[in-house]
Symmetry: C2
Subunit: 313 residues, 2 copies
């Protein structure tokens, strides 16, 4: 029998789908799920952060709590939902000092407040150091955005910029703290307003958040929509610190902008004849490519075209 480590997350998800029933309604397999009996308005998701993996040097417990909330709120935003309530299940080492736990909860509540939600419940048990947050959101009458609606000919776009979380991470790791100017690494801001506006525009055909990086997000949309993408390196909006870190280290811009997560921007595709609707809904975005009838995303340089790699390098 293979261990969890040997199988990896993607294979485990496939395995789990084989042993549980497929729920009714939209969205299982998307960033969040739409739960049917409530007139299509209730969207929910869950995601854990762990002290071992998501608590880098320099991060405070408040920022860890903020992040636990933000990663879930981002999953709601990718569907076009706004957060309403959070539930927080903490499994924490018994020798952790209580002030650190309160700091985690205060940071989580600060993030909830910033995006219009409340913490409605929780649970604390002794354990290995994880915050499992569940988020419940509302579509407010909008149609949910899925990963599966992209069609050849659609335009590929992203909100904000790419690579600043990675730049911050590598700056700290390589002892270049003065280059780590971005707050994106320690206090990521989910794109709630943008997600709601994208959904309301009626122009968007698919959407995902970039928690796992652009390449992984593009691959997910291509897989779910059975399409390809041509993304142009020169079009990618470069995040703060990317230039400086790439010139001071051996970490390339591609590594930071394509293959590293933590930016929590939205990657989406839209109907090219409905572009005006996006402007009318006041969304700032960058066009980065087109949807093709290929079966995977490609990254285009001036002189070459490469398949986008399998996750992080």
């Amino acid at each position: 029998m293979a261990s969890l480590k040997e199988l990896g997350e993607r294979e485990l998800i496939r395995g789990i789908r084989n042993v549980i029933r497929q729920p009714p309604g939209l969205g299982p397999g998307d960033d969040s799920a739409v739960i049917p009996p409530f007139n299509g308005g209730v969207v929910a998701c869950t995601d854990s952060v762990t002290l071992e993996r998501h608590f880098p040097k320099g991060m405070t417990y408040e920022e860890f709590g903020w992040t636990a909330a933000a990663v879930n709120i981002s999953d709601l935003a990718a569907m076009g939902a706004v957060p309403v309530g959070l539930l927080a299940a903490l499994t924490m080492p018994p020798d952790l000092d209580s002030v650190s736990l309160y700091d985690i909860m205060a940071g989580m509540d600060e993030c909830a407040e910033a995006f219009g939600a409340y913490i409605y419940g929780g649970d604390t048990k002794f354990g290995g150091g994880a915050v499992s947050c569940a988020a419940i959101g509302s579509l407010e009458g909008r149609t949910p955005m899925l990963r599966s609606g992209a069609r050849p000919g659609d335009i590929v776009a992203v909100t904000g910029s790419l690579g600043s979380a990675a730049a911050g991470f590598f700056a700290i790791e390589r002892g270049l703290e003065d280059l780590a100017t971005s707050s994106q690494l320690f206090k990521p801001a989910p794109r709630v307003r943008e997600g709601a506006a994208l959904s309301a525009s009626g122009a968007v055909t698919s959407c995902i958040d970039l928690s796992d990086g652009l390449a992984e997000g593009a691959r997910s949309i291509c897989g779910a929509s059975r399409v390809g993408m041509d993304i142009h390196m020169a079009f990618l909006p470069e995040g703060e610190g990317v230039e400086d870190v790439s010139s001071e280290t051996d970490v390339s811009k591609e590594e930071m902008m394509l293959y590293w997560g933590g930016d929590y921007e939205l990657l989406f595709t839209f109907d090219k004849y409905k572009k005006e609707a996006l402007y009318e809904h006041d969304v700032d975005f960058s066009v980065i490519g087109v949807v093709t009838n290929d079966d995977a995303p490609y990254i285009n340089y001036f002189d070459k075209r490469e398949a986008m790699g399998d996750g992080r390098h």
Copy 2:
């Protein structure tokens, strides 16, 4: 600074309430919370089980997964809500074999199916061995039952029987496996139908589930309602195995029926003038005492009256 272990769960919850905002709506501090923007119909809760604490000798991974779902569904039932969707966040040791993880998910889905719900989403990360489940339920138009509505003169009652989970636990611990006939320990059945019927009856003034035992549940209702209770030992419905285990070991019936959790029955109070409404709604229950104008629950024997102790002995 005090560690989590030094402070204990009750004190931590108090501390957390001081650092986060009080959400609008009913139920924070109850078994579940009612989330307001969805016309009062959406109820949610979260609770974790850990391999270290909730996976006793003899339990299968399926049963562990069932339990992770059941403890949350029980929290919905205590409010009068029926489960609709579950979210499962697993933090599991990387060397766990994947079949065990699939078994956990299959057991969770089996419990969801038994009570009319689906698993809508999840997350798996490497960690210490916890399943944090969040449950979303519907009140279907009923008024939620809270812990805070008990009034002096109300009747105190419980569904089902008490102590069979404890009897099963002690039977196994003391090597008396042939006495461990109850499934309540490994596959607890939350009282979903009963909770909905109690809520629909309009007779119930407060309700809680007995995940932490009768004494703890009674203390919670008394604290939230600012009342006392006189509970009569002779009235308590004795669970399967309690008699046998108490006669074969040094564990008393009081220990199993008052101070040990895991039975997942509902403890509730009702308006004595509305008792007929409970029968009309087809609920089986045992009257165990009355609500008083004291400030804590007491347990009455033929010849003495004692304050109910502080949690488990």
